[in-house]
């Protein structure tokens, strides 16, 4: 159920962003989309691992997952956002 809602929100958000880019005629490099998509994928996997690990009663695995996957996801998202905003 939560993943369904997550999909709806992410899908709607992504659509809105693409429509805004088209409407405003903003030029965004392909690598920015790629970095953004990677950040989203890594962030999604981090969230899945975090909550699943808590369900597995593995809190250390949950925290370490945040470190190993969540930090790179945040960095990627930051770089993608910066490139997007400055394009």
């Amino acid at each position: 159920m939560w993943w369904f809602l997550y999909g709806l929100v992410t899908g709607a958000g992504g659509m809105r962003l693409i429509m805004w880019v088209i409407q405003e005629n903003v030029t965004v490099g392909w690598y920015v989309w790629l970095l953004g998509a990677l950040a989203l994928l890594l962030g999604t996997l981090t969230a899945q691992h975090y909550f699943a690990s808590l369900q597995e009663l593995e809190p250390k695995a949950a925290r370490r997952g945040l470190l190993v996957m969540g930090v790179p996801a945040l960095i990627l998202a930051g770089v993608a956002s910066w490139l997007f905003l400055t394009s």
Partner: protein
């Protein structure tokens, strides 16, 4: 049992035959055979490959039937000396009481009570032939008031004897080996078994049946007789009983990980005793089921009796042999106990599997490093050389030092299962990480070292505070019984 297929069947079968032949696997000649095959109902992950030979190398020519009396559980005192065994037993008894009085975490009175209570099999004993045939003193009074009308009252009213079709005056069950295998798989799941495989007792598999039974030392012999029988010094398996039903019972990872330091606790060991007790109950139900159908079911009179359970499990594809020198399955890892019943009900054999487990064990030595008794092999490659007479030669394995392991059972007072707790395959499967790792190691050994290090980094297999278990709200038996089923 017939299944109706649709158009394009011939083409489909041709394609299927080609694919199966490429994989070196069984060739099906008809769609009905595919659906009726026991592996059709056995829902396994896509990365588990059915193969012709198990991942452990076997030299059948050099393998002899193992004398069950040589196993370390039985001959421990002989291997370490009577004095040492006596001293360790006294130490165990002293510690048990002392730790209860000290309220030591994991060894308290309630932990000890749980360990002992879980291992109880209720009123069910273990009998080679079936509990109802174990005693000539049993009275055989018909009980028309029996709710099913298919029992004969015996001495103990809580252990009525079932009627065979012959006694009942009806023909016995008839089915093809495929139908029988499907039937047994279904009923065994209902009785509480997790995985069920089948083997034909051919000249090779027969070598996995003990020459002498483990606990009471009775000879196990094959004879050309219709019915199995038992005397004071031997148990006789009829030549017609040519099949073995092998099944597993899961253990709880939440319990097994309640160890302290490297030592198991009464709490962590309680899941082991429970699984053995369940296995006995399930075997007893299976014996009864087979008897009512008109067939024989022969079980070990002890949980390690009759035949080498992990070896049968490996050959029937329940899992692969491992550094633990025990079976590890792709679904439950090492968290299971294996049981076996020999029968004359014709069955279709299941095949060994390759899921990359034995390969992974070459790199990962976590169990051997964690073993408090230093009883497990630290060698990278498995060996043909046995460590002692408690091992059975003829296969290339990571042989363990059984008596060292058994010594530790006394020191710990509760047996030991630390190697199972720290194994990377002892895990739940909710995180996507597990679903990524297992197929990868099944396909390539390249990342095995990395996976082992990440297992440590993520803290899987770490000991958990024993007392915290009492606060959990876990499913029955603390296991995920849906894993590997249609409902997963």
């Amino acid at each position: 049992m017939r299944y109706h297929s649709t158009a394009g069947r011939r083409d489909y079968m041709k394609m299927l035959e080609l694919e199966q032949a490429k994989a070196g696997a069984t060739i099906f000649h008809d769609l009905d055979e595919v659906i009726a095959s026991p592996t059709a109902a056995w829902k396994r992950p896509w990365w588990v490959r059915w193969v012709d030979k198990p991942t452990v190398e076997i030299d059948w020519d050099n393998m002899q039937r193992f004398d069950g009396r040589k196993m370390q559980q039985v001959s421990w005192a002989k291997y370490v000396g009577e004095d040492v065994a006596k001293r360790l037993t006294q130490l165990r008894d002293k510690r048990m009481k002392q730790w209860i009085l000290e309220n030591k975490s994991g060894y308290t009175l309630r932990d000890r009570a749980m360990l002992l209570a879980g291992a109880q099999a209720g009123s069910v004993g273990t009998s080679f032939l079936g509990f109802w045939r174990g005693s000539s003193e049993m009275s055989r009074l018909q009980t028309p008031e029996s709710s099913t009308g298919t029992y004969v009252q015996v001495k103990d009213p809580f252990q009525p004897r079932p009627l065979s079709p012959e006694e009942w005056g009806i023909p016995r069950w008839q089915g093809s080996p495929e139908e029988n295998a499907r039937m047994i798989q279904a009923v065994m799941r209902h009785f509480g078994a997790d995985q069920v495989g089948f083997l034909e007792l051919d000249e090779h598999i027969r070598k996995l049946v003990y020459s002498f039974d483990a606990r009471d030392g009775k000879a196990l012999e094959f004879e050309d007789v219709d019915q199995a029988y038992e005397t004071d010094n031997k148990r006789v398996i009829p030549e017609r009983a040519r099949w073995v039903i092998v099944f597993s019972v899961q253990m709880s990872d939440e319990l097994i990980k309640r160890y302290a330091g490297k030592a198991p606790t009464a709490l962590s060991s309680s899941t082991v005793g429970l699984a053995y007790a369940q296995g006995r109950n399930i075997s007893d139900r299976l014996q009864t089921f087979l008897y009512v159908l008109g067939y024989q079911g022969l079980m070990g009179t002890w949980y390690n009796g009759l035949a080498i359970a992990p070896a049968l499990g490996v050959m029937a594809g329940l899992g692969e042999l491992s550094r633990l020198n025990k079976l590890i399955s792709p679904e439950y890892g090492p968290l299971q106990r294996i049981f076996k019943v020999i029968t004359d009900l014709p069955l279709t054999s299941t095949k060994p599997i390759d899921a990359g487990i034995m390969r992974f064990c070459r790199t990962c030595k976590k169990c051997a490093e964690a073993c408090p008794a230093k009883a497990l092999s630290m060698e990278t490659e498995p060996s043909w050389e046995v460590v002692g007479p408690w091992n059975n030669p003829g296969h290339r394995a990571y042989f363990q030092d059984g008596p060292r392991c058994r010594n530790w059972w006394s020191v710990s007072t509760v047996g030991c299962s630390t190697c199972l707790a720290v194994c990377p395959f002892s895990r739940k499967d909710k995180s996507f990480v597990h679903k990524l790792v297992q197929p990868t190691l099944s396909l390539t050994p390249l990342l095995n070292g990395f996976f082992t290090r990440m297992h440590t980094f993520f803290g899987y297999g770490q000991a958990r505070e024993p007392e915290s278990w009492w606060e959990l709200n876990l499913p029955p038996h603390g296991i995920n019984s849906v894993r590997g089923t249609q409902l997963e």
